[in-house]
Symmetry: C2
Subunit: 398 residues, 2 copies
Amino acid sequence: MAASEQLVEQLRRRVRELEEELGRGEGGRRARIEQMSPEVTDSNPYSRLMALKRMGIVKDYEKIRSFAVAVVGVGGVGSVTAEMLTRCGIGKLLLFDYDKVELANMNRLFFQPHQAGLSKVQAAEHTLRNINPDVQFEVHNYNITTVDNFQHFMDRISNGGLEEGKPIDLVLSCVDNFEARMAINTACNELGQIWMESGVSENAVSGHIQLIIPGESACFACAPPLVVAANIDEKTLKREGVCAASLPTTMGVVAGLLVQNVLKYLLNFGTVSFYLGYNAMQDFFPSMTMKPNPQCDDRNCRHQQEEYKKKAAENPKVEVIEQEEEIVHEENDWGIELVSEVSEEELKAASGPVLDLPEGITMAYTIPNKVEENAVTGETVPESEESLEELMAKMKSI
Amino acid sequence: MAASEQLVEQLRRRVRELEEELGRGEGGRRARIEQMSPEVTDSNPYSRLMALKRMGIVKDYEKIRSFAVAVVGVGGVGSVTAEMLTRCGIGKLLLFDYDKVELANMNRLFFQPHQAGLSKVQAAEHTLRNINPDVQFEVHNYNITTVDNFQHFMDRISNGGLEEGKPIDLVLSCVDNFEARMAINTACNELGQIWMESGVSENAVSGHIQLIIPGESACFACAPPLVVAANIDEKTLKREGVCAASLPTTMGVVAGLLVQNVLKYLLNFGTVSFYLGYNAMQDFFPSMTMKPNPQCDDRNCRHQQEEYKKKAAENPKVEVIEQEEEIVHEENDWGIELVSEVSEEELKAASGPVLDLPEGITMAYTIPNKVEENAVTGETVPESEESLEELMAKMKSI
């Protein structure tokens, strides 16, 4: 009977689904695919990616399989980043996180309620392997900022490539705190490892991505964000009963922009962005390029700058960050240069309301503004008392 | 048959066994939550969303539960759109699609290999219900463009609200073809239903979102996209062994921008965008506002324009699309007005390579360019022979 056949099929599917959740058997896993094919069939998971070649966007899409990428922080941005890279067929993914999945994470994409209680890297590895068994996974359930783990983290950057003993190709920072970002920065400066930074604001309505090439572009210590915990342990800043806001939209957009930049960088198409911001309140997207700070606190950064200069002198073909459109603020001791079509006016208009933050903390890109803003009707935001220069001066004095 | 009954019984037992092992009755589903709480605990899935109130971004986040939204097309953009709205705790989601999940869809987010063969709406409903059982789901596994289905689709827009018999609040178009977009446009013009359009280009590296308020902003027929199938049945254009390229990054970004616009519109924060483009090659994001075309082919659109003018005359407080920064092309018979910081130069630079398209088809926003572009090194793209005006004239002559 057709009806009972349908029922059997339904039940079989449910069994596969449940087995999958339990991490068993080969559930509904597809077989591994030895070679990416452009063949247009319903069963080919790579047809839409290989079509990028026919469309003239990417010359050699298969090359994606030769890269190993580390994702540090598997939260709202990192998990989606890992999923996108997995679906694109990246060669190897290394995941670092020490957190557990909670129901409180369900307002972001990727994790599901039945995974609550599992470690994020374990839950992510299970889901991602099912999605694409062609990807190699290596997961580390630890905090990279402790002394021992930091050494191990450095070792995996140097030796965790597609072929053991070779370095990985790119590190992606998807962490949610200053300390972890500084740890990644320190490691990458010492190893000369190219990496990309990402972040989402506490009020959930802005974010950014950034490409850091040690010695060539500003490192995280060259130009720290305006939100800095000035000699205060970040952990002590967390207030009882208070948490940051987050949205699946903002985090999805930031992950999308990040992985797009990764694909452009690895597969050599389009223009790779050094810095790209996203402000959801006004839908504006500032971009800029920052040169490294010769007085950077990180001696490895200063060393990389010397090396880069030497290389550039020896080989004039080495690309130098473009300077055509640079607007240099003369009174700017940080050497920060903006290349952006966004005016300061727009920057101000795009800021969300200002929070009551603990002493020593300033919001990134938010200009204090006491008048209630009614952005939906398009009213402009009144001028604030502080200029970008004043904020930078404040930052420097910290 | 006794044999198949036995098999069904066996499979049922296996399902119960596995469910028990996973510690559930309802398949890992969390209990329903009667009231959204701002309480900061690991088990509260709404704490990070309710924090938007404390951050001063949204006044009344709980209002999200009072809205019903339809998502037409549950593919690369629609599935992620539905997931984001589900995780945000929308009141009701209506899903429309007639396609099946295939392994060939695995290069986009959301669907998993074990769902291959299921209808997209059925697979999506199952996953989304597990993620958030507080959301009401209504799914329709049909093609909205057939005569009967179209009537039913119209009926669900009018009566499928949170309370049966009331209209829904917003229709989101996440379809991948011109015919389905025109069907949504026709329905929304007739009903005066506000909707948002979304789209991703065939070469996977650009996309857009658009808010359409019948009578107030341009409808889909007022200013059809530059990619149009001129009196040719779209289906006949599909070539054997050829498929469009797609990327999880571009589709994730477009879904994120779309749902962000939905949240801003429904919850009344930030500036709602009428049109926002995303071009991945150069990371640029054109925005503009288009007034309706008084000569629109859709008589319901012309009727809505009359109604809107009447309302605006009666009540001068009715918001009119802002015109401050408008750049009107005088020779533009379409009445299209651009509000954008993006120059034509940038538009050209951001276009991907040009495809060999069938006769009668033109690429959206791609200016023909014979010289191979090397975007990674930042070379500018040479001037093309055709201006935006010329393209518009061509479009009109179709």
